[in-house]
Amino acid sequence: MGFKLFQTIFALLFNGIAYGMILFIISAGLSVTMGTMRVVNLAHCGFAMVGGYIAYALMDRLGLSFSLAIPAAFVLTCLLGAVLEYLLYRGIYRQTELKQVIMTLGLALVMIASVNLLFGASVYNLNVPSTLSGNVEVFGVGLSVYRIFLILVSSIVGLLIWYFVERTYLGKKLKAAVDNPGMARCVGINVDVLFSGMFAVGCGLAALGGALGAELMPLQPFYALKYLVIAVIVVSIGGLGSIKGTLLAALALGVVDTFGTYFFSDIGAFLIYFIMILVLFIRPQGLFGRRA
């Protein structure tokens, strides 16, 4: 009985971490946008959805392989993010939250409608290559190869982000621009370009998460709003602007959700909302956020 319990917990932990990592990739961009650029971006999960659909279209219509389609989706969505940032977002940085909410909500609706018109209302999945499908036995528990892949890729992405921010010159400039934009400008750092770049990469990351995570979170037009709430919970708990916070919050959420649904399925979605409300009351800026 003891070993069986261990196996169950191991399996739940594994799945929870995989789910959490996908949430991290998707939400990282939102945390950055809301925390450092102070923009409420309700269209964020729309980018994740668009990324997923781009990957699907590349694989289905152009016949690209999985390993090509995913990075392509990342790059294309980065470009889309950059374009939209210039056209739409740049003007609303200094506006009230209400205007930001309205505009980004409008953008999200446009994304949903476009995807609906182009692909129809049915649900889509990406065809995972055969090398990544199937299961692997660890401790007698069958672990999905694809989820192992997800955890690996997300960890690598996380490490890359960390390395970039902490160890490169550009990363230092970024930190300076975030900490004190005025001062950063004074020393010649091009804050606007940096922020645009951050936004674009954030959108690209969301797309990466959307494409990779299509197994867990199937693609459909309402994706953009359906998963927005989860992303918001992750970044709120983790603290706006903190990548580390987002990672921890996403992992915690993934694991708590997985364990919660196994052991207390009656409470279901509540657990997440209660935790969020609780955390925000005690620490309104989230676990690692900054008090502005």
């Binding site: 505009m103 909500l105 409008g106 446009v110 949903i112 709120s236 209660f274």
Partner: protein, 325 residues
């Protein structure tokens, strides 16, 4: 940096004029001339009430919320359950719904009104969704995904039956709207309303002059809860089925869109916004529903990009006199 929601003419007082009779004349005209559209008309009236509620906290209090549907839905379910389990008499149902929604407003407002903008926004979203999930889970009472049905409503005042064409329902809703509007106007033109607008314009200064900001906000939130609850009750009584859609994020978003379209913080903003949104949606749905969402998205984006966030402002100076207070 929280710039003001409205331009400098935010503190004008509303003075009664002949134009104030316009919405009611229109309302009665619809009743007499457009018999087949009373169902739509009733929904428009109900949404105007819900938008007035949101306008109170958003337009006058400066509180941005993504979870306002919670008040509406709570009112709807309470009225529905009241009709099924207590009495099908409609007026008492209205009071019950308003009371419970107001209580919810008081409780959530007590905790929420201490929060800052972004956190508050996220929290309202979370609270709204939590209420939705709660209603979903408690399906033995609310009917869950199936909705609450079997709501029968006794004749109004014991005399007027709720008929198929929707005549009674329409006039009933219109009457409630009229009373609520008078109350609303009284509140926003009172010293309390003025203080609320002060909070919206500059919360720090209000605190500095010793104004009990949190108390004012909580009061506004509670009042808004009551108003939205009334709207929800009307919804339950005229449709006679309450679905989870009355608590959904979609409804919260739609209310926000309607208030913004009509003019945040304008006395008649909810009227304009709700009427235009719902009428266009109705026609668009008949024509091509898939394009509706696209069009609305574009309109929202444009409305912000063009830096004019109200249709009333676009309509020019002639309307200004009527629409500002």
């Amino acid at each position: 940096m929280n710039t003001s929601v409205l331009p400098g003419d935010s503190f004008n007082q509303h003075h009664w004029s002949i134009w104030d009779a316009l919405p009611w004349v229109l309302g009665l005209a619809v009743f007499y001339l457009f018999d087949g559209y009373l169902a739509l008309g009733t929904i428009v009236i109900i949404m105007i009430i819900a938008c007035m509620s949101l306008n109170l906290v958003l337009g006058y209090g400066g509180v941005e919320t993504l979870g306002h549907a919670a008040f509406f839905g709570i009112g709807a379910y309470v009225a529905g359950l009241w009709a099924i389990h207590v009495t099908p008499e409609p007026i008492t149902g209205l009071f019950a719904a308003a009371a419970v929604s107001a209580l919810f407003g008081l409780l959530s407002g007590y905790f929420l009104m201490r929060m800052r903008s972004l956190t508050l926004l996220m929290l309202t979203l979370a609270v709204g969704m939590a209420v939705y999930e709660f209603a979903n889970k408690w399906s033995s009472v609310t009917g869950g995904d199936d909705g609450l049905s079997g709501i029968s409503v006794a004749p109004l005042f014991g005399v007027f039956e709720f008929d198929l064409v929707g005549r009674t329902g329409y006039l009933y809703a219109l009457g409630v709207l009229f009373i609520v509007f008078l109350l609303f106007r009284a509140v926003v033109c009172s010293p309390f309303g003025l203080a609320l607008r002060g909070v919206r314009e500059n919360i720090w200064r209000m605190k500095l002059i010793g104004s009990p900001v949190t108390l004012r906000l909580v009061t506004a939130y509670t009042l808004a809860g009551a108003i939205a609850g009334l709207g929800g009750a009307l919804y339950a009584q005229t449709i006679q089925v309450v679905g989870l859609d009355s608590l959904s994020f979609e409804l919260s978003g739609n209310l926000l869109i309607m208030v913004v379209l009509g003019g945040v913080g304008r006395l008649y903003g909810p009227f304009v916004g709700a009427i235009i949104f719902l009428l266009v949606q109705d026609r668009a749905a008949a024509f091509s529903p898939q394009h509706w969402m696209f069009a609305i998205g574009i309109v929202l984006i444009l409305s912000v990009k063009l830096s004019e966030n109200t249709l009333i402002q676009k309509a020019g100076h002639g309307l200004k006199k009527w629409t500002m207070w």
